[in-house]
Amino acid sequence: MNVRRRGLEHNAVVLQAWLQAGRRFTEQLAGQSDTKLDARAALALWTETANQQLLESQRSEAFLQSQAAMIRATTALRMAQQELVEHFGKQYGFPTRTELDDVHRTVTELRRELRALRREQQMPALVAARPASSQPLAASAESSASSAGSLAAPAAPSKPSARSPKPQPASSKQSSASAEPSRAARPARRPSANNRGTHT
């Protein structure tokens, strides 16, 4: 009963939005010059108008609250149904959802422990490496700040967000609206012989 009531309440909110969309549509038709609108143009106008109205409605407290109430009601019903099935399941000796969940939780915890053990055993030693440039890693990262910014063309400075806790220095943290042009790809080569596996 509760699910039905909540469903009807929510449908009433949605219906209001549709009615409002219809009103807006007829107002827009009335407001236009006395030209003839073909069916395609009329559909486009209706689609745009209804979409706008429905999006506005979705952000309203009435919509959000009635939808949340409907979700609460349906989940409550689902849980009550599961409880009932569990009750009868127990009587007839069937494995229950609770028991299965218990097994799944145990398996998940065991997998977690196994992963941690594997990680400890298999983590490869860090391979010796040096940056592509002759500079040490840290220095390379710092110096590359300007080169990374070269992605920007044109280099439009980033607009700091009104909610940003601190302003971004334009010289260091950069924003771009486009990227450098694609380089021509080199000729494709055949996959190496040892690169065989599951081809999906």
Binding site: D34, M79, L100, A129, R130, P131, G149, A162, A179
Partner: protein
């Protein structure tokens, strides 16, 4: 008063055209089989798996130009196949053609048996396992991470917790400040943020407990709400519009195939996603904890490229751009791409910018392996 209608002759002509479209489209759909609609076709090899998680290595399409491999990490909502939707709309192919050594992690199809998997399991466990495997295979001390949407949050958290294993961090359409949808407050943008905040933490718990996981269909319905009229007209008017054009129909079906492949989100991980991040916004406040370890964005000291879509209605730009002031590096770059959330991967204009930017970024920060 505007009259809606058309002349009898024009109506007859429209009806004849519509009939022809329906006949041709019907014939095309009748002859097509599921196997004809292929996505994610770029050749790749399974190189590592654990539980339901698989790590794939793409076969090269060009000479390697970057030593440090790139790992693509999509989220648990949807699947990575969006990045390789079709041959001429494929970030994966574009990156391979630019000489990147590319891997992707596939989270599989979580079932009710996975309801107790947490985000820590996915980030520190599976993603960590993938990183370790790539380091071993490529003989490198760190990898380049490319996170997409929820996967961007995974890579962000991983980079903050294990910074010594991450060479560069590239984020794409990634939410960092989950309350920053209010910055622009554009109609139709950030509905998931608003919707999640309309629920109480107890509502989230009960929703997940009743279903075990966050069902893929449920999230699909929420996404449909974000463009209500488009969702209503998609399978009638929109389909009819392209029904007699085989190429456009095939493109449409490939997209539909990706949309239909919406795995369930593991329950405990979904609770964390919705409560810790969407409701309590812990990530941007450096208060989020995984396995008892605090995710401090200031620990992200490697170079960062943050790519967002300027018309993204699912992840509004301000929610992504909030990362800039929080990271612990001055080597931070933002790249705004034209289009929306999915347009980043399939739109012609963004494709021309996106892959070259990622490849160039990886190249600039490459390591020479001894």
């Amino acid at each position: 008063m505007t009259q809606v209608g058309t002349s009898p002759a024009a109506a007859l002509s429209d009806a004849a055209r519509l009939g022809t479209k329906m006949l041709t489209g019907g014939q095309l759909l009748h002859e097509m089989r599921d196997a004809d609609v292929q996505i994610a076709t770029t050749p790749k090899d399974l190189v590592w798996s654990q539980d339901k998680v698989s790590l794939f290595h793409f076969r090269p399409l060009a000479e390697k130009r970057v030593n440090v491999p790139v790992l693509i990490c999509y989220g648990l909502i949807g699947r990575w196949t969006m990045t390789d939707l079709q041959e001429d709309r494929s970030l994966v192919r574009n990156l391979l053609n630019l000489g990147l050594d590319l891997y992707v992690v596939d989270w599989g199809n979580p079932s009710r048996a996975d309801r107790y998997q947490t985000l820590a399991d996915y980030i520190l466990g599976y993603l960590g396992g993938c990183v370790a495997e790539i380091m071993k295979r490529a003989g490198v001390p760190k990898v380049n991470l490319l996170g997409v949407c929820e996967g961007g949050v995974f890579t962000t958290a991983y980079a903050a917790l294990e910074p010594e294993r991450v060479n560069t961090l590239t984020l794409t359409i990634t939410p960092i400040d989950f309350h920053a949808d209010t910055v622009e407050d554009r109609l139709g943008h950030g509905f998931i943020n608003i919707w999640t905040r309309s629920l109480s933490p107890e509502d989230v718990d009960r929703l997940i407990d009743a279903n075990g996981n966050l069902p893929g269909e449920f999230m699909g319905a929420i996404f449909n709400q974000m463009s209500p009229m488009r969702s209503l007209l998609k399978y009638n008017f929109d389909l009819l519009e392209i029904a007699d054009d085989e190429q456009r129909l095939m493109n449409w079906l490939r997209m539909e195939k990706w949309i239909a492949d919406r795995p369930d989100h593991p329950g405990e991980a979904a609770k964390q996603w919705m409560k810790d991040l969407y409701q309590q916004n812990k990530l941007v406040q450096n208060q989020w904890e995984l396995d008892g370890r605090r995710v401090d964005l200031g620990n992200i000291r490697m170079p960062v490229l943050n790519v967002y879509a300027s018309d993204d209605h699912i992840i509004p730009p301000a929610t992504s751009r909030a990362l800039g002031p929080k990271v612990g590096t001055s080597d931070y770059t933002e790249l705004a791409l034209p289009g929306g959330h999915i347009g980043v991967f399939v739109g012609g204009r963004s494709q021309a910018l996106f892959a070259p930017a990622v490849a160039s970024f990886a190249q600039q920060h490459d390591l020479t392996v001894a």
